[in-house]
Each structure stands twice: as structure tokens, then as C-alpha cells.
């Protein structure tokens, strides 16, 4: 298991009693979710975590524009990951630290490629009070995803494009 993920799992378990305490108010809980989300930022996010999709707009721009900026868009906003780790998935993580590794590989760490402008649209639906699930966020933002391998993306890039793997938000 990745040692950082293991550490984060232990951190969540150690601090969960504070999150669950009646004395902890909503603002404090939100800070805890953000703090765990900040920890998620430092977890691996290489090509192993690419979920095999790009947005239709990226597909459209790939061969035409060698200046387009592809953004790694995590399907689960980090703060939401923090919240889910303290609530829905806490028991699972407590049962076995390796479950966070699994959750991260299958859900929280997964990303698509979108355009920078699409990433900005998604921000609105990434807030804790707005987020329903990853599919709804994309639907409400008008972003349609299409399947494509990383190798195919490279092949379709316009001549003169810089290496892909760009910003991460």
C-alpha cells in the first residue's frame, strides 16, 4: 500500500472521534474535511489514475489547437473526499487501512481530462452543498465525456503540441 495513503487513513481514524463529537460544529467539521482534502492533494495522481475519459470539447480541440491546456479533473472534489472519509466510508477504513487505498484507486483518485474552462464550470457543482455525485456534476455543467486511451490522445494531438499532462486542480 502507498505509505502516504496509509498515513492519511491513520490520520482519519485518529481524528474521527473529533469529527463525530457533538461539540464539533459544522464550521469545524468543514475545516476537517478541507484538511483531509489537502492531504489527498499530496497523494499519487499519475497515469494509473486516469479513468479513460476526456470531454467532448477536449476531443474537438485536440487535433485543431496545439496550445490547448488539458486539466486533470478529479471526479470527486477533495473536500467531498474528506467528508466521505469521515462519514460513509469511515467504517470501511477502520476495518482495514487498505480500503482507503482501494477507494482512492477506484474513486477518489480518478481523473478525466477536461478543458480549463470546463474545470471552472465544475467548481460550482463541487461545493459540499451542491455536489450530488460525479455524474450529476458533469451533467449539470454540460460536459459530455467520451472514452479515449492516453495513447490515442497523444496520437490525436495537433502537430507542435507540448507534452500532455498539464495542470492539476
Amino acid at each position: 500500500m502507498n505509505t502516504r495513503i496509509e498515513l492519511l487513513a491513520k490520520f482519519i481514524i485518529s481524528t474521527a472521534p473529533i469529527y463525530q463529537s457533538e461539540e464539533t460544529n459544522a464550521r469545524q467539521k468543514a475545516l476537517m474535511e478541507t484538511i483531509v482534502g489537502a492531504g489527498v492533494f499530496y497523494l499519487p495522481s499519475g497515469n494509473d489514475y486516469y479513468n479513460g475519459f476526456i470531454s467532448q470539447a477536449v476531443l474537438h480541440a485536440l487535433g485543431r489547437n496545439n496550445k490547448i491546456k488539458l486539466v486533470k479533473e478529479h471526479q470527486f472534489p477533495r473536500k467531498i473526499t474528506g467528508k466521505l472519509c469521515y462519514t460513509k466510508y469511515l467504517n470501511l477504513i477502520e476495518e482495514d487501512l487498505g480500503n482507503l487505498d482501494k477507494l482512492y484507486y477506484e474513486k477518489f483518485g480518478r481523473w478525466n481530462y477536461v478543458l480549463e474552462s470546463e474545470n471552472k464550470k465544475l467548481i460550482k457543482y463541487s461545493k459540499t452543498h451542491n455536489f450530488i455525485d460525479e455524474n450529476t456534476s458533469y451533467l449539470l455543467s454540460g460536459i459530455e465525456l467520451v472514452a479515449m486511451s492516453l495513447a490515442d490522445i497523444r496520437l490525436r494531438r495537433a502537430e507542435g503540441s507540448e507534452d500532455i499532462i498539464v495542470d492539476e486542480y
Partner: protein, 327 residues
Amino acid sequence: MEEIKQILVNNEVLPINHESKNSSIIWIRAFLEYCIHNHAEKLTQSDVLKEHFKLDATKHEFRKAKLIEKKGFYYKKDSYTLKQMKAFPYSIAKELNLNLEINFGEKIKYTGTDLNDLTEKCELLSDMIKATTELYHASTTNDEQRGLLETIIGAGIWYLPSHKNELYSGYASVALLEDICNKDLNDIKWTEEHSFPRKVAGNRLYSQYINEVNSNSQFLKELYLSRLGRFNIVTTNENNKLKRFATVDNFINDNLSYEAAEIHLVNFPLELFSKLVSIKNSNKKANKALSETTDQIRLEKIRTKIALNNQAFEEIKITAKTLLNIL
């Protein structure tokens, strides 16, 4: 400490009256000198200083020449310790019992409307540190994992409420004042530099200050208001220079980092800083509006606003020049 002083005086590395100088850089050099004297192998003080402070070549050569001329000395001791010393000046300083206490500086009265929010969040962060201290110090936790814990706590500090008016230290760098004197308002850029790096704060809270965190629920808030949340204003370039001195292993205190990065601070009153922020923001909005409107009356109003901002900036320039002339 006395031993170090004696070594330095004996070796004529520092002037005999060095005690009158209350500069942290004197003391960091003192302990480096002590370490070299005891543990180094074929390295001069200037080699180590160059490595540690990244002094420029001229200075380095000058120091080296001066030392060789003076003593002709090379140190021949344990090189492993020297490596450690270069990599971990903070831990060596700690081992030598140098005074590493955080200078709490001037206490400020935080009157921001979110004072309750700040109190609650600091208490929460303290509780999180307490709940994970055992994990941090566990023998099964490796350095990379400890680093992540420090980063997580550092991130928590970043999210604490901040009121610029109260957390501004009152100091700007000389380089920034020179920019103010020489550039146009639109070209002035500055960085709010938190002189105490957040990751380092995470590290110190888990180690050096853990007793205070455990015994005083208000400790973190006080530390935040007096040190962790405070910022100076510097140029972007200076901010980049400071990064190398802002790591957990290199950072000792803010004075030392600033001295090592050759950043000199001068008093730049809050009123001037607030005025600068206000006219800069106003000009940014005005310039944007200027490119978006065609209405002549509105254009005239915007131009008047820009002229007033530039006039106010000229006043700040005059004060900045006066401050620089005093130096």
C-alpha cells in the same frame, strides 16, 4: 553556548565584542563554526556557509580567502556529522541547545468579526494535533509520512481566518519600496510573505511546542496571531529566494531566513499598505472597465478615477523615497 562563544573568540572568527550584536545570523554562524571545529573534514567555514546560505561566489571566495589568510585552517574530523549538519541545521542547533524559542513578537489584539471562528478553528486544529501526536512520533511512521502530517497541519493553518489589517507585520522589503519608487502603479506587484512557513509550523507544533499545545487550548491561536499568521510584503523574486530557507530542515527563524536571502525589511505603516492595496484594486477594476465600455460619460468617470489613484500613488512614492533615504 559559552563554549561556542569561547571557541569563536579563540579562533578570532567573530570579534571579541560580538556579544553586543543581537543578530541571529551571528549565532547560526557561531554554531556552524562550532560544528566545523568539532566534526568537519577538510572544509572551511566558508564552504559550509556557502552551502547553507547559498552566498554568491564573490562573497564565498572573499570569506574563504580571509579565513585562510587568518588561520590557514582546514578542519579534519567526522565528515558524516558534517553532512548531517549541512542537511539538518535545525536539528544540530537543537542538539547544541541553541536558543530556538519562537520570538513571539508584538502581541496583537485581533478584532476581526470572525474572532469566534478563529478561536474555534484553532481549538479544533490543536485537538487534531493532539489526536495524531502519537502517530507522528510512532516508530512505524517514516519521514515521508511525518512530512505529510506536517503538510496537513500546515494546510489547516492556511485555512484559518485572516484579517490583513491585523496580521500585516508593518514591514515591507527595501526592494519593494524601490519598485514603488521606480515603477508605475499598474506594474507594482507584491507577495504577502508569511515569514513562518506553514509546513515548518506543522513540524514545530508536533515537536518543539507539543507541550504547550497539550496544556493550553489558546496556545495555537496566540501563536497564529503573533507569528504564524503574520506577513511582510516583499517582491515575488524575494519570495522565491526565501523558499530554500523555508524547509523544515533549514528554517531556524524568520530573521535568519531573511538575512540569508538578503532581504532587508523597513517599517511601512499599515495605513500606507492599506492605501496601496485600495488604489491598486481600484485601478485594476478601472482598467478593466475602461476596456469594456464605450459610454463617454462613464469613460470620463473611469479616467478621473485612474488619475486620482495615480495621484494617491505619487504620495505613497514620496513616503517610500523618504523611508529609503533614511536607511
